[in-house]
């Protein structure tokens, strides 16, 4: 059977809806936000009976097209990273569509641009970000200047290690273990050279760039709206990440015990 050379306009609208939902879900947006954005955009495009259903691993969209035919699509989604700029940009597109200021092809154009925006862990700027985050929180917890500086440097080194690792594999749960391990290991090694170092405060600050703050927020946001599946999934992600960071730290402490012969 020969496929038609051009796709009918409705199916390109379906693609737009899929892409918008995908961008939101892949970059750390909440599930309810993906559903709401898709419905709002579909209505903005003039489609009837727009329904969307999102779970953490996929999107289901259906609507009645202009010719009265019911169309449905399934899209597998994988959480890639955390990039709220993309989520926000997709949200802005949906606002424009809902206001009738954008049609299907224009929206697709814009969404493609959003997809091409620099990704998580690609930019060198995550290094100063990690430094700022760690030293800021180290100060908050009551560290002195030495602790503040050391905390920033440790976080920066850990970030560099994670950037190096992300070249082989997408940032995942393994990164939390390794991050937690080095975050605990480096200050414990540093204290052997600088005995005045407030090790605990250095670690407390340096661990902050790793904590699952976004997953926690999303868990609350989704649960609040009655979406138990997504809420639990985000919550489990947050708890698992925290446990893995802690596990990594435990490994590092055991390692220190071996190095120093039980002096920690």
């Amino acid at each position: 059977m020969k496929l038609p050379a051009t796709t009918p306009p409705e199916s390109s609208c379906m693609e737009v809806l899929q892409t918008a939902g995908e961008i939101i879900m892949e970059n750390g947006g909440e599930t309810y936000r993906a559903e709401e954005t898709i419905t709002r955009m579909g209505v903005g495009f003039g489609l009837n009976k727009v329904e969307s259903f999102a779970v953490p691993s996929g999107l289901f969209i259906s609507y009645r097209g202009k010719n009265g035919k019911l169309e449905t699509s399934v899209k597998r989604v994988r959480r890639l990273g955390r990039n709220l700029s993309r989520v926000d940009a997709a949200n802005q597109v949906s606002r424009q569509v809902a206001a009738g200021k954008m049609n299907c092809p224009q929206a697709m154009e814009k969404l493609k641009e959003i997809k091409a925006m620099p990704g998580a862990f690609s930019g060198w700027w995550s290094l100063p970000a990690a430094f700022l985050c760690a030293s800021g929180f180290s100060a908050l917890f009551g560290g002195n200047w030495l602790a503040i500086g050391a905390s920033g440097v440790v976080a920066l080194v850990v970030q560099m290690i994670e950037m190096f690792l992300s070249r082989f594999r997408k940032r995942g749960l393994a990164a939390s273990v390794i991050g937690g391990m080095f975050t605990a290991l480096l200050p414990n090694l540093l204290v052997l050279v600088l005995p005045a170092l407030q090790t605990e405060l250095v670690i407390a600050g340096a661990v902050m760039p790793l904590v699952p703050g976004l997953a926690m927020t999303n868990a609350v946001q989704d649960t609040m709206r009655g979406d138990m599946i997504s809420g639990l999934s985000h919550g489990a992600q947050a708890i698992l990440t925290a446990c893995l960071i802690a596990g990594g730290a435990l490994l590092a402490l055991d390692l220190m015990k071996l190095i120093t012969g039980g002096m920690v």
Binding site: K49, S85, A139, P209, Q221, A242
Partner: protein, 161 residues
Amino acid sequence: MPEPLWLEIIRAVLGAFFGTIGFAMLVHVPKRAWLSSGLIAALSYLVYWGLTRLSIPDPMAIFIGAFFGSMAGQLFARKLKIISTVFLMSAIVPVVPGLGLYRMMSFLGRGKINVGAEIGIEAMITVVMIALGLAAGGYTDHAICTLAGKRHHMSEKKITP
């Protein structure tokens, strides 16, 4: 030697402000939201810190701090037209028990199971209180918007024609 009060306040405000901006940069928050993220974090941490100084129990202080942050976050999100996730996340990041988590592990690693478990449970209570505070803030914000007759993003209103 206890620190003077002004130094503690500076620590709380500047630490939460810059630390949270760093965290926001790490999750690629849009540039136009950086400053307001830091501001929300500093404000909600200041509320938490002030309450603990007034010897309010820690879980209660965290709840109120998160509640305040959540309300302020929704307001900022509406005014600046930026997704609310950004501000809610910023409000809770300074009180996430990172130190508690590490101390729990460090005690468990040294075989002091009792102390470790105690600190771990404290950290868990903190997390629960953060979640409750955020949720309570969201519901209150929704209620206020409904009373004021504004459409809220949490409204059940059907958007399908």
